[in-house]
């Protein structure tokens, strides 16, 4: 079985179109991020209290809200989880003043208001505001450090221009994935950060496979102009790029559908990231290498 045989698609010729496409996506992402005043951070990063409860009998979001608003949590964010018949909710409030335990207060109120409808406490998370900002910083450092590590490794194994192209492509992927989260108003949690880093690693994987072929072809196809040599390399590796992305997408989609609440945002970030990452290794990373090469050639003259 082969889907891709003797391919010869002119990827590089259409790179201007790809630039436009990428630029549009990045612009949309940035606009959305600006409009939403930055990413929507989850409780891990903002601090606060979240209570996950599962009721035995049918109950509405409104009922739950009425109950918790009696103790001053009228602005609580209440989200239904899973199917309607699961009667499961996440109630999230901002951190209260020190000493008072928001989760306990809510539990007591729910018990009082729904004596006929017992509930199971599924999870409680309370995070202080300092620890939140600390984690935010750690997350940013994590992304930066991995980028630096990659820059160094690729510079060593390939050339500096390849390293820069790879890292630019990574920024491209992360910004657009972040944009998707912003547009859909999904929260950035620790797990999503983990997904971002995985996307970084994954997208890089694709990029390196292409670069590796370019490095190889630089010796084999010396007569070929640089741009068309890159295009040949992309075509040669295209089949692998797509097959691997496909198998990874399979498991990510399974996780997205069946993994449940904990892994949903992770799987969603991966889903977007894999598609964008595969695209960027073809249409962003390699063209940047070409542009860089062109400039260097011009300078030489």
């Amino acid at each position: 079985m082969q889907f891709f045989k003797n391919l010869n698609v002119d990827f590089i010729g259409k790179r201007k179109l790809a630039y436009l496409f990428s630029a549009t996506l990045i612009l949309l992402s940035l606009v959305s991020l600006i409009l939403h005043r930055g990413p929507k951070y989850g409780i891990d990063f903002t601090g606060g209290t979240s209570l996950q409860v599962k009721f035995e009998k049918q109950i509405n979001v409104g009922d739950v809200r009425n109950s918790v608003s009696k103790i001053g949590f009228g602005n609580a964010e209440i989200k239904r989880i899973g199917l309607a018949e699961d009667n499961e909710f996440i109630i999230r409030v901002e951190q209260m003043s020190e000493g008072s335990d928001a989760a306990v207060m809510m539990e007591d109120q729910l018990t009082k208001d729904f004596p006929e409808n017992p509930y199971d406490i599924r999870a409680v998370t309370e995070i202080g505001p300092t620890i939140g900002s600390e984690l935010r910083r750690a997350a940013i450092f994590a992304v930066l450090f991995s980028m630096i590590g990659i820059l160094i490794y690729i510079s060593w194994r390939f050339e500096f221009k390849f390293a820069v192209a790879a890292v630019l492509a990574l920024f491209h992927d992360v910004i657009i994935t972040l944009g998707f989260f912003s547009v859909l108003n999904y929260e950035i949690t620790l797990v999503v950060i983990a997904a971002f880093l995985t996307i970084v690693g994954y997208s890089l994987n694709d990029t390196i496979v292409v670069f590796d072929r370019i490095r190889e072809n630089m010796k084999v196809l010396r007569r070929e102009p640089f741009a068309s040599m890159v295009n040949i390399s992309i075509n040669q590796t295209l089949s692998r790029t797509i097959i691997t992305s496909f198998t990874t997408l399979i498991v990510v989609i399974v996780l997205l559908i069946m993994g449940g609440e904990v892994t949903f945002s992770f799987a969603f970030a991966m889903f977007v990231g894999i598609i964008i990452g595969t695209y960027s290794s073809i249409y962003v990373a390699s063209p940047i290498v070409i542009e860089w090469h062109k400039r260097a050639e011009l300078k030489k003259r």
């Binding site: 490794y153 983990a194 990874t248 904990v262």
Partner: protein, 683 residues
């Protein structure tokens, strides 16, 4: 088979065997747990206890007494037999669990708590004088430390930039800023150590199987409690401030007379004579046993000990009996549970008898015979005498002579031999009292020379040294056997002296039901994801796909075996990591297969195509995986618990996939092409 194949084959087989051995306990665990559930169900139907009650009885070790309390008659015997079996089965599970993949708190349910020393509060407590300027500096320091600058570095800078010496508020006049900062830092570390000690002492009472209490950085403590039932109570107890008291120990003659009184009370109870008739509950005929039969046995049943009106709530240990001195048992039922009484004020209780003695001490009639101002307190640590372990029991005056708040410091000192009162190398603890404490202590020690003073932390006696002389200065020395004991005692004293300002800054609790759901969802996703990938590989690469799938299976086994072998923690993100590995692990094989196809297209022979396919793809696979590994390692070092779990499984998955894809599949190809004359490669 070629020689070179044999070597690789042996290597791979050895790894597989190793993996299976390392995975065996984990595989065994599921079955064991099922049996346990069945046993719990059986007890449930027999006794009417809830599952939660049975499980908590199991972890706290009082399942048997729980069963005794609930039912009686014929079913009791059956239920007891069953619970005995369950207890044994449970300890087997614990053993096997130690060699299995550990489930993270998010999978098995549990609580993750982070405590932080309130450094600003510590500064305010320590400051010689408090004014708005100090408050300004503290506020500025808090702000900067939230931006990631070290608290003390920032504190020092804030003082310097305002041209104020730290000695204005802290330390003594002559000290440099650096010296004072160093001392404050030590103070903070000490606060952490003291709190760690307190938490450790208190956590015992929850019956948590593997509590983890760790220092993190220089101002945090991370507490992880798996499978805990009542989180609110746990939090309340852990967060409580330590209570340190100094209590006068009752004289030996009083202790002896109290024990005699208790013996009398017990004897009467055993004979069925009610001491205070109107308080006695009805007698239970089924519990009646005659003394003659059992006295020959060293193990005495509890009902016998308590006589006719035996209350079955006695917390028996698992063997169901206690150790008594047979000779004195009938005469002095209480004394017979104790050891070494002559002339000493402390009582030694064999560890086995602890709960029975505790139970006796709570009987109202026994409480009545105690002198009005006295109480019994247990020691903190067990002592080993001969081959047996003992707990000390002290009879002390209820009213404390001194409180921890009157203590300013406690330090370990080692005797240099110069001091006449101290052996060279012996350790002692110096403690300093404040003004109020010094005065009280001077009067108290003056009046009680020769007596013993119990140092009590959270109602447990740490030690009870003899008062040698009047201590007028507020500076006391406590002689201790060795260095470790001295360190412990100093920590106990400091723990109670200055309650460390500490707050819980993070709590993350996952209920057991959510954990079970997560496991189910994770398992299902993994199985379906794996099945789809496996089918796709066979569909796309045919025979070679089968080989790649085989490598994929091996890969997963290696990852799990590694987790089990190192008793690593599997979290929900960790499961996601394994699932992701399934999708990504085939990548190496895809690269190789695509390369082989290319080589075949150029007209190479099968052997040559395989050779060059592997060698060409190797470099690409290495580069691509190293970069992914870089991000995984970064993630591991920056992430918290669950995320670390993800980084771990992903890293192991990547490494294992390189091995299986490059070494294992290559060997299979080599062996097939060497054995059969293949004309067309199924790829």
């Amino acid at each position: 088979m070629q020689k070179e194949h044999v070597f690789r084959l042996v290597l791979i087989l050895a790894l597989v065997v190793l993996s299976v051995v390392s995975l065996f306990p984990t595989l065994q665990l599921g079955g064991l747990q099922k049996t346990e559930t069945a046993m719990v169900d059986e007890i449930k139907t027999l006794t009417g206890l809830t599952r939660a009650e049975i499980e908590s009885g199991l972890t706290s070790g009082n399942l048997e007494s729980l069963v005794r309390r609930t039912i009686s008659g014929d079913t009791l015997e059956k239920a007891l037999e069953l619970s005995d079996k369950l207890i044994k089965h449970n300890s087997k599970i614990t053993r096997v669990e130690g060699k299995s993949i550990r489930q993270g708190l998010d999978l098995q349910g549990g609580t993750y708590l982070v405590y932080e020393v309130d450094l600003p509060q510590l500064l305010r407590d320590k400051a010689k004088n408090k004014d708005s300027r100090l408050e300004d500096i503290i506020t500025a320091t808090i702000k900067q430390s939230e931006e990631g600058i070290d608290f003390f570095t920032s504190l020092q800078e804030n003082f310097t930039s305002r041209q104020i010496g730290l000695n204005r508020y802290f330390g003594s006049k002559g000290q440099t800023d650096e010296k004072i900062i160093e001392e404050l830092q030590n103070e903070a570390t000490d606060a952490i150590d003291r709190t760690l000690e307190n938490i450790r002492n208190r956590i015992d009472q929850f019956g948590v199987s593997e509590p983890s209490i760790q220092k993190e950085g220089n101002r945090r403590i991370v507490v992880q409690l798996a499978g805990i039932q009542n989180i609110q109570r746990a939090k309340a107890v852990i967060g409580k401030t330590a209570l340190l008291e100094f209590k006068l120990v009752k004289d030996a003659d009083i202790v002896i007379s109290v024990i005699n009184d208790i013996d009398r009370v017990m004897r009467k109870m055993r004979m069925g004579e009610d001491i205070i008739t109107d308080q006695q509950p009805g007698t239970d005929a089924t519990q009646d046993t005659t003394l003659g039969e059992k006295a020959e046995d060293k193990q005495v049943s509890l009902s016998e000990l308590f006589g006719d009106q035996a209350d079955t709530t006695v917390e028996a240990d698992t063997t169901g009996g206690v150790v008594v001195d047979q000779k004195t048992f009938s005469e002095k039922p209480f004394s017979s549970l104790l050891r070494q009484l002559s002339g000493r004020s402390e009582i030694f209780v064999p560890l086995k008898n602890e709960q029975v003695v505790q139970r006796i001490l709570q009987i109202p009639e026994v409480v009545d015979v105690l002198p009005g101002d006295a109480e019994f307190l247990w020691g903190r640590e067990t002592t080993t005498l001969g081959e047996e372990q003992f707990l000390e029991l002290h009879l002390v005056k209820q009213e404390p002579e001194l409180l921890g708040s009157m203590l300013t410091d406690a330090q370990v000192q080692i005797g240099g031999g110069g001091d006449q009162s101290m052996r060279a190398g012996a350790a002692e603890v110096h403690m300093e009292l404040n003004n109020e404490g010094s005065k009280k202590f001077a009067v108290f020690t003056g009046m009680n020379v020769g007596k013993f003073l119990a140092i009590v932390l959270d109602n447990k006696v740490a030690t009870a040294p003899r008062i040698k002389e009047k201590i007028p200065s507020g500076s006391a020395r406590i002689e201790v056997g060795n260095m470790d004991e001295a360190k412990d005692l100093a920590l106990v004293l400091r723990a109670g002296a200055l309650p460390a300002p500490i707050h819980a800054i993070t709590e993350n609790t996952v209920g057991p039901s959510l954990g079970r759901d997560s496991i189910d969802k994770g398992k299902n996703s993994a199985i379906i994801g794996l099945a789809l990938v496996v089918l796709f590989m066979i569909f796309y690469y045919r025979g070679s796909g089968v080989i790649a799938d085989f490598a994929l299976f091996l890969n997963i086994i290696f990852v799990l075996a590694f987790m089990a072998g190192f008793h690593a923690t599997l979290t929900m993100p960790g499961i996601a990591g394994i699932i992701l590995t399934v999708g990504m692990a085939v990548d190496a094989n895809v690269l190789i297969f695509e390369r082989i196809r290319e080589e075949l297209r150029t007209g190479k022979t099968i052997r040559a195509a395989i050779d060059s396919g592997y060698s060409q793809a190797f470099r690409t696979i290495l580069d691509a995986n190293v970069t992914t590994l870089i991000t995984a390692v970064v993630l591991y070092s920056f992430g918290t618990g669950p995320i670390k779990g993800f980084a771990l499984t992903l890293s192991i998955g990547i490494i294992a996939s390189m091995f299986t894809a490059i070494v294992v599949t290559r060997l299979i190809f080599d062996m097939i092409t060497a054995r059969f004359a293949i004309k067309k490669l199924s790829i």
